[in-house]
Symmetry: C2
Subunit: 480 residues, 2 copies
């Protein structure tokens, strides 16, 4: 039986981004479609990436004293309806359970689109005094939002995996201080692990989370020039604590409403990472989230087969202490087939070893990001591997950061804004008076929207729409 032909990426990232993205995620075996429209299968490669992200994030949560819990998947309709803005935001996307076995349920149950309403019902029972605060809980689970927009795997999926943090504080100040801690964690994970830069900012009231008083987000820019929202943090103020009667006795014995926050990072980040770093050959994974960081491929001929395989095994053993290593010793595939296979799957570093290398006491290293090949002395292999992986990690980040910088522009009037969005895409910074009608006008006139109000940005004098005084700088982009 013949070896099957490795799957190829035929679309070009620069020519047909959507088709290219679809080919990369399918052919690298990152995911597959499922029989449920808009829901995807996380195959071992993407799930292993998620486990790495999850573990790194969870460790940082635990250092902050945040504890994990698990609340039921199903939320009774009457609970979902307790906070007005919240239910209005989510009801159009809720998947409803109405029957169990052969029995019609008396009350519809929502599959959680997010868990505020079921968690806060418990919080109101658990919290009695200031001694019970802060309460810092988190869960890793999946949620369903039955969106009717066109789904895109990872980027917009009817079911996705995420963390949902839910914290309760005695004072507004403590609640607000959490913002920088959580956004700091998310920023560290996206930058240092996923090699993704992002713009931290505040959402406009129009775009904030349903039920929050303010939402902050990390926004990413995709290679097609569209922005996409990453992890977010919501100051809920006392909205939910009033709807759910979450009160506590303060030190003076007086009853007060508590202050709450919620925050999340989702599997969407995997899609952003894939889209950002990958190329026309397939996936490119940053070493820190690559389940396999180094693949070793022995170059075999009949005469020296045993010797080469043994050398490859030795190297594999040696490298286990410095990297996540895989030795590909399958004998029914050629070395060329394997090169292609691991390239599509995005393994950051390939090591080739053949009879000539053994004689020269060296191996060949091939970087997935730059496709460069170079030899490394067998003696210093650990060092060479560590250094190369670090170099790949930082190269990917710097490239993505450069792209973001080059595609962040300024416009001082609507004509400029429109032209830049149409011709160049990317992020356009403008002045904004803060009025909803100017925000709506931006959308109407340009098709772009205010993605967020960056915390760090130059100031403008005038609003890009009404020419009144600019109160804040807004990032405008076409977005997912």
């Amino acid at each position: 039986m013949q070896a099957s032909k490795p799957k190829e990426i035929t679309a070009k990232k620069s020519e047909n981004f959507d088709e290219w993205y679809t080919q990369v995620i399918l052919r690298s075996e990152l995911m597959d479609y499922s029989p449920v429209s808009g829901c995807m299968v996380f195959r071992p490669l993407s799930y292993a990436i998620w486990e790495i992200i999850q573990r790194a994030t969870d460790e940082l949560f635990k250092k902050e004293g945040i504890q994990n819990v698990y609340f039921p998947l199903l939320i009774p309709e009457r609970l979902l309806r307790k906070e007005q803005e919240h239910v209005e935001g989510f009801a159009p996307e809720v998947a409803w359970v109405t029957e169990a076995g052969n029995t019609k349920l008396e009350e519809r149950l929502a599959i959680r689109p997010t868990s505020e309403t079921i968690m806060y019902e418990s919080f109101s029972k658990w919290i009695r005094s200031y001694r019970d605060l802060p309460l810092k809980l988190n869960q890793w689970n999946s949620v369903i939002r039955w969106e009717f927009k066109h789904p895109t795997p990872f980027l917009r999926s009817r079911e996705f995996l995420w963390n949902e943090g839910h914290t309760v504080y005695a004072t507004k100040e403590e609640a607000e201080a959490e913002r920088d801690i959580i956004l700091g964690i998310y920023s560290k994970i996206t930058r240092e692990y996923l090699a993704l830069p992002g713009i931290i900012g505040k959402k406009t009231d129009k775009e904030k989370f349903a039920g929050a008083i303010a939402t902050y987000s990390i926004e990413h820019l995709l290679p097609d020039g569209k922005a996409i929202q990453g992890p977010d943090f919501h100051l809920d103020g006392q909205n939910f604590s009033k709807a759910f009667e979450i009160t506590f006795l303060n030190k003076e014995g007086k009853r007060e409403y508590a202050w709450q926050n919620t925050w999340a990072i989702t599997t969407r980040e995997i899609g952003v990472m894939v889209a950002t770093h990958s190329d026309d050959r397939g996936l490119v994974l940053p070493p820190k989230v690559a389940p396999i960081q180094v693949v070793i491929i022995p170059i075999l001929d009949e005469k020296s087969k045993v010797e080469v395989l043994n050398a490859a095994r030795d190297i594999s053993k040696r490298l286990e202490s410095v990297a996540r290593v895989k030795l590909d010793d399958r004998d029914y595939y050629t070395a060329g087939w394997k090169f292609n296979d691991w390239e599509i799957k995005g393994v950051p570093l390939r090591i080739e070893i053949g009879p000539r290398d053994i004689k020269a006491s060296q191996v060949i290293l091939a970087r997935r990001d730059t496709l460069e090949k170079f030899s490394a002395n067998m003696k210093d292999l650990e060092r060479a591997v560590i250094d190369t992986l670090e170099s790949i990690q930082s190269n990917l980040y710097l490239k993505a950061e450069r792209f973001l910088k080059e595609n962040t522009r300024k416009a001082s009037n609507i004509k400029e804004l429109k032209e830049l969005l149409e011709k160049k895409g990317g992020i356009i910074q403008v002045g904004w008076c803060g009025m909803r009608r100017c925000e709506d006008k931006i959308k109407e006139e340009t098709g772009g929207k205010i993605t967020n109000l960056p915390l760090q940005a130059d100031r403008f004098e005038k609003c890009v729409i009404c020419n009144m005084e600019s109160k804040m700088t807004a990032n405008v982009a076409k977005s997912y």
Copy 2:
């Protein structure tokens, strides 16, 4: 403001087991009820225990080359119906999604009661040749089974957390060889982590998994004399591969149906562990699964407060490298209040340190399992802690094993069986001819059922019901 009174367990384990169990799991803050009938909240304590179980199990899975994945929560009805026995077994308990937003769905979607049918649809696409086998996948998730029996938190819950392993092999022999590997992993986790003995055996055809050709289980015995099923392993043979067309080309280029297995361990084990080890003061946790293994409580008086707190902090620091330690330095609770609080919560080892201990260069150790108190020299503290934790772990296991042995009896006729079940409960070993009508008769006459057919057991000459030749030894018990 006064310190609140610590919660007490008022029911006795030996007198009113059900009430005692409920008090223990609620008052230790292990769980809480939720607004969804039959679904529970995993509070930080039980979820942290689950994380420890999950991580230990997952590491053993990964050593066997098993990879984690995530398949959609929802299963289209037509897929669930593909394997006849399977759908008949699960349909009466399925929670159905019929609406999304304001739209009625064209096809009902089942919330997974288990994921065979959605996973195997993908397997049939992914598996082409013998090179794609074995395929060894697993997922950690929650499932919903809308049972109408009386729910008991952890032990029988409409939503529970579990692993579901799904493996595919080219040959029957390879598939069957996996049984001992997986049951070995589950046995190791239940015995060495949860300190739970169990009886490994085969389920009868009546009791096997819907769709399997054979089911193997680990059965536990609860303190009330009832048996309860623990982790299980199902040989699916070619039942699903035929229903889902999971075929592969073998080395000779001939198409064959694949051989499949499925296996699971669930959060029920937490309930079994709690019921087995805990006592009239509250929870007793085996050290290996205790999120906090050692709690340090400073005994403070006004004069030596600073000195004692500093000493307690030093000890806490020192012990971090050998155990999961918590220093309880809350100043609004008395030492006595704290003793009680951590006893209810089951922390295996308490360390007390006061001014007199500092002078004597010692601390007081208090074991949660035996309630013994003894002093340990400050110099050898690490050793004393390690040894005591090990001793607690093995003591709990041995006690549980002794209980299981003492409550495993034999009966040679139906009268004996009935009497033993009624008067003593526990497990009764009997001879069985293997016929369904004798199995049904046991249930009718005694209210007990065949829990499993132990792999290791003495043989009987005659069937306990029909007096024909006994083909196998059966364990009979009243069961959850």
